[in-house]
Subunit: 462 residues, 2 copies
């Protein structure tokens, strides 16, 4: 009798589980259909990129993006839409940069100031160049660095499909370079762009940092092809001089905002799922893949669930962070406020890796939880929707920053296809035309599906 | 003693297996590095698309592609490079098509003749239009079809990530349409293009077929946007007439060729692995994704292994099939010859789904073999190279045709990302610029890796 009863109970539980899986599969079908047919991420991205354009934190365009984003959110049935004040330092590029190898015939070099770079002054800098692959190679030059331009010419590891890993291999030298070179008496820092193509003649900007107490020097990214040309010029004439001019500068602190919208949970309104990406961009291109797709995509993921009549169990909070690119002030502020309020943020989803075909999510969680997700959720995505990558990994930059205060929050980092991202990242090429509607809306559907599953089964993640 | 001995043997076998996995992983690393750094598929594709251009079977350009492909193969250490004669019917589009809704103000429609279509004659056809979603809807019109243009306006199922499946849902009506409409007395067949975007104003051509004994009628593809415009015009005025003009025609049989190269196996030279894709294209665009990437990609996959000093166990035979698009004559010929020689073709790999980021392979094999591949090979690709789709499925068109004679051959159909393929397929948009180098060479590496594994472990597949 006991055995029969147990069998009955087990059978009922099993049947419930199968029913839940069927319901989830049906919901995902609805989400994909809604997103492909009626998604608005692509149209919203068009407005953001073409009408507003690039929007570096602190600029008028960044504030335009804030105001417009808030109005977009207010059109949807959120329970609350508000701005969160963020103080941040505004950096301005100033006039276009100029660079060339000095000689009878000037050899032009394509450069872009790195974010935070000081200017050369209107007369520019003309100096000899020390080329190294690694900053650590500077040691052997000793005092010879003084008065020179240091040119770090480390090529990209093209063998990696995971271009994010290749980026990580080289990006440390972008951050550390200016301070290390200044310490040795160098007069400027020239850094080979973090581009996945050696045939790329666009310079790629990006953040760097200065260290208090060390003189700031101009820090500039040089395109991959220009780096190769410069290297050849230096082989032909090691005494060749390079002229550099930029007049970027820090302009002091300004007030800006995170844009936040809340969709109140019907069962556990005090438990929060944070989802979003950064609304600022670099001041070149249109900030399409970085990160127009991430903001317009996460907003559209929520809108997709709303249009399907979904009622979340937990509060879903959409956050457009300000200034991921040049100081992460928005994310720091979000974390401080959430910590001060002792909020219960049970999960986070971030999109900041482009709007290419969706491949999956990196997950910041224990190995056991990741295995559970692989077993329970991956089958819902894999064959039908071509989303199959659910691996333990790092959260996005913004989630990672505020997540320092919330070590138990399970975090999902959306991973679109990585092949093309670093061809256009932080360049004038990052424009609306580089985004494909089907790929973008497929990503919206993947994110909406994940958000649905997290909301439905959050208790299983903890 | 027995137990100890068994443990020892098992341990040795296990250690051998682990060693083999390590060797395979090392080989795949080398393949990817070689392909990304030194691959030539992209440069070869540039020549094929820009210097030769589109190349419909039977045309001079198709023969130019044959001669040039042979010369490419002859530069590599193949043991044998040769042409295989293929007789095929040559179809020529003639002058550009013209179409509009007749009225005070002509409303232009973007059309392309479907492959094999007869012409309207120089005066064109002007007739009323019957619009249906399905050919089977024609039944209810009875004799009213006589003298009319039949317009099949079935929209694309945008909810499917697997765009190939969406294509399959609608392509049958492209094939069957002309004969079914002619049988009912219709004077022309107008078919909504197989495009994955409803916002696409490019017509997509493609094959169709006529049935002996039924009068041929002109068969034309109309762009998605033009189809929508025409549908609206017919709603406004059901008696509206459409003018159509095309002067395409069959031009008789011509001699053409498959291009074949053999790399002789060192252990089992009589056992053959066939790999390749079709070298012909439609006569619009440049045949870049369809199928410049498939031919240049499979050639480069073999070249990659050659450059790494690999020696195949089995004979690897590269085949560039002629006329996949408009008659599959090349594949039929390949199969007839292989059958007549009683060849042992143990495996086939085909690439004919574009050069987008590689996702995996559809496999024509028993469920057990597919499971074995998922267990043994998928882990080599999945995390590191983002290739994870190894599912039971259909072979490519060419392998499928000749494979009818070789039911036991295990067949792999390369699957790149499907999101964008049917935006450009069979249109003027299928040009070199639509291909990304990293995505293409990533696919080359995936194909070379699979080829290596098939050659190394072919015995496990049978």
């Amino acid at each position: 009798m006991k055995t029969l009863f147990s069998t009955f109970i087990l059978g009922a539980l099993f049947s419930q589980a199968v029913q839940a899986q069927d319901n989830d599969a049906t919901m995902l079908d609805k989400i994909y259909t809604q997103s492909f047919y009626h998604g608005e991420a692509y149209d919203n991205l068009h407005y953001l990129t073409k009408t507003i354009g690039h929007r570096i934190a602190g600029s008028q365009k960044a504030e335009d993006a804030v105001v417009w984003s808030k109005s977009l959110m207010e059109k949807l049935p959120f329970d609350k839409v508000y701005l969160q004040d963020v103080q941040l330092p505004y950096w301005d590029r100033g006039k276009p940069e100029e660079a060339y190898v000095v000689g009878a015939k000037k050899q032009a070099l394509n450069i872009l100031a790195l974010g935070g770079s000081v200017g050369t002054g209107s007369k520019g800098i003309t100096a000899e160049v020390i080329e190294v692959e690694l900053l650590s190679d500077l040691k052997k030059y000793g005092d010879a660095v003084r008065g020179k331009i240091v040119f770090v010419n480390k090529t990209w590891d093209e063998s990696l499909v995971e271009t994010g890993a290749a980026y990580g291999l080289n990006s440390g030298q972008r951050s550390r370079g200016p301070a290390e070179v200044a310490k040795l008496g160098g007069v400027a820092y020239l850094f080979r762009s973090l581009s996945s193509s050696s045939q790329d003649d666009y310079p790629h900007t990006g953040g760097t940092r200065y260290v208090n107490g060390i003189d700031s020097i101009p820090a500039l990214a040089i395109s991959a092809l220009s780096a190769t040309r410069l290297s050849e010029a230096l082989k032909a004439n090691p005494k060749a001089k390079v002229f550099l001019r930029n007049n970027s500068a820090w302009k002091g602190m300004v007030n800006s905002h995170n844009v936040i919208a809340e969709w109140r949970g019907t069962e556990k309104p005090d438990e929060i799922i944070t989802i979003g990406g950064h609304i600022d961009s670099w001041d070149v291109g249109e900030g399409a893949h970085d990160n127009g797709t991430g903001t317009m995509g996460t907003l559209d993921a929520i809108r997709t669930l709303m249009k399907l009549g979904y009622k979340p169990k937990h509060t879903i909070r959409l956050v457009f962070y300000m200034n991921e690119e040049n100081g992460v002030n928005g994310s720091m502020k979000y974390g401080e406020v959430a910590l001060a309020k002792n909020e219960k943020i049970i999960a986070a989803i971030e999109s900041d890796a482009g709007g290419f075909a969706p491949r999956g999510f990196d997950i910041k969680a224990s190995a056991e939880k990741v295995q559970w997700i692989q077993k329970q959720w991956k089958p819902l995505f894999e064959e039908r929707f071509w989303v199959s990558r659910f691996l333990q990994g790092s959260p996005g930059v913004d989630s990672g920053i505020w997540g320092a205060h919330f070590p138990n929050t399970v975090m999902f980092n959306f991973r679109p296809d990585p092949h093309r991202y670093f061809d256009i990242h932080h360049t004038a090429k990052d424009v609306f035309e580089a985004v494909d509607r089907r790929e973008l809306q497929s990503g919206v559907a993947a994110i909406a599906s994940l958000l649905y599953l997290v909301d439905q089964q959050a208790e299983q993640l903890h």
